[in-house]
Every structure is written in structure tokens, then in C-alpha cells.
């Protein structure tokens, strides 16, 4: 069973608010990822990290930012939420090697009114 946790699971917030989606894993994985998923659509990579102090933007342009100060923690922040940010955000981590096996959290569903 994967040990990767996301909070909050659900969040409804007003436009203009700052939010942080938390992601923590206890498996010691260096590689971590944030994906965005809308209903019926594919997962799109928005941020990734190869380890502490490493962060990169993914293929999908996003107004969010991430940080990686500790191996186990990879939070995602939106400085000013807008309705277009309404989506499911999935955090994942990956062990060393090249298996491609990602361990996903259960996701944070964000609704911006």
C-alpha cells in the first residue's frame, strides 16, 4: 500500500484566496510529481521534483508554484485562486530505478467559486 498522503481531500474556496495543497510521502522517494486531472480528461503534469531544492514546471502551464524543502514534502500553492483552477490535483512519487511505477495520493479536489 502506498504511503503518500494529500490534504485537503476536498476544498471549496472563493476567488482570490491563497491555497496550499499538501502532499507527503513516507517512502523516501526523491522524485515527486503534481498532476492535474479534469473529468474525462488525461492527467497533465504541472510540476515535478527530482529531490530537495529541485523543482521544474511540467508540460501543462500552471499558475501554481511548488517547493521541495524536505524529501517527504511537496506542497503546491496557488497565490490567488480563480474558477479556472477548479480541478482534481494528484500528487505522486516514484522510487529510484526506471520502473515507471508512480505511487499516487488520493487527490485534492479543488472548487473555486
Amino acid at each position: 500500500e502506498a504511503d503518500i498522503y494529500q490534504t485537503p481531500r476536498y476544498l471549496v474556496i472563493g476567488t482570490g484566496k491563497k491555497i496550499t495543497l499538501e502532499c507527503s510521502q513516507t517512502m523516501g522517494h526523491d522524485k515527486m510529481y503534481w498532476y492535474q486531472q479534469d473529468p474525462g480528461m488525461e492527467l497533465h503534469l504541472i510540476h515535478y521534483s527530482y529531490g530537495v531544492n529541485s523543482t521544474e514546471k511540467g508540460d501543462l502551464s500552471s499558475e501554481s508554484t511548488v517547493s521541495r524543502i524536505r524529501t517527504e514534502h511537496f506542497p503546491l500553492t496557488l497565490e490567488s485562486a480563480r474558477p479556472s483552477h477548479t480541478s482534481q490535483y494528484l500528487c505522486a512519487s516514484r522510487p529510484e530505478g526506471n520502473t515507471g511505477e508512480l505511487f499516487f495520493g488520493e487527490g485534492s479536489r479543488l472548487t473555486v467559486l
Partner: protein, 111 residues
Amino acid sequence: EDQVTQSPEALRLQEGESSSLNCSYTVSGLRGLFWYRQDPGKGPEFLFTLYSAGEEKEKERLKATLTKKESFLHITAPKPEDSATYLCAVQKPQAGTALIFGKGTTLSVSS
């Protein structure tokens, strides 16, 4: 452009009615093709990795196969608990890069 296309988008089966899901891909220098299962409101769960054409992997009622241009996920005698969205993903040649996912096939199995 690297792309993953899954078909059909949705599939309804009766319990015990075997079928296959398709994943076609265009990516230069494939380093692996992956199948995941996603239940509603949950994150995807890893099923299989396939690396080279001709390779097959099995797990319970599921068998994944790979050719040079596509992969199939065969479901033999499915049960209602197999109902989920099945996602296909590919990995690009650069080491450490993330996966490119398809939109998935939503499978519903009724008893």
C-alpha cells in the same frame, strides 16, 4: 508530438464477457508503457509495465500485451469489481521524466 490514445472511451460488459481495451501511442524512443487502474475519487493504481514489443504481463483477470505501436489490456471473464477507469501511459526516453497519460477507458461490468 508524443501522444497516447485510448479506445473505447467507455465499455459496458456483462459479468463473464471478455473484451480488450486499446492504447495506441506515438512517442520517439519508448522507454516503457504502463497501465494503471483508477477508481472514482481515487488516485491511479499501478498495474503493469511493458518494455518491448511482444512482452506480456498478467495479473488475475487482466493481461497486457505490447506491439510497436499499441498495447492491449485483455480482461477475461470480468467481475463487477473490475469496474474502473483504466489508464495507459508512456515514458519518454529521457531518464527520470514523468509519464504521458491517455484519457482512459471507463469499464463498467454488471452482474
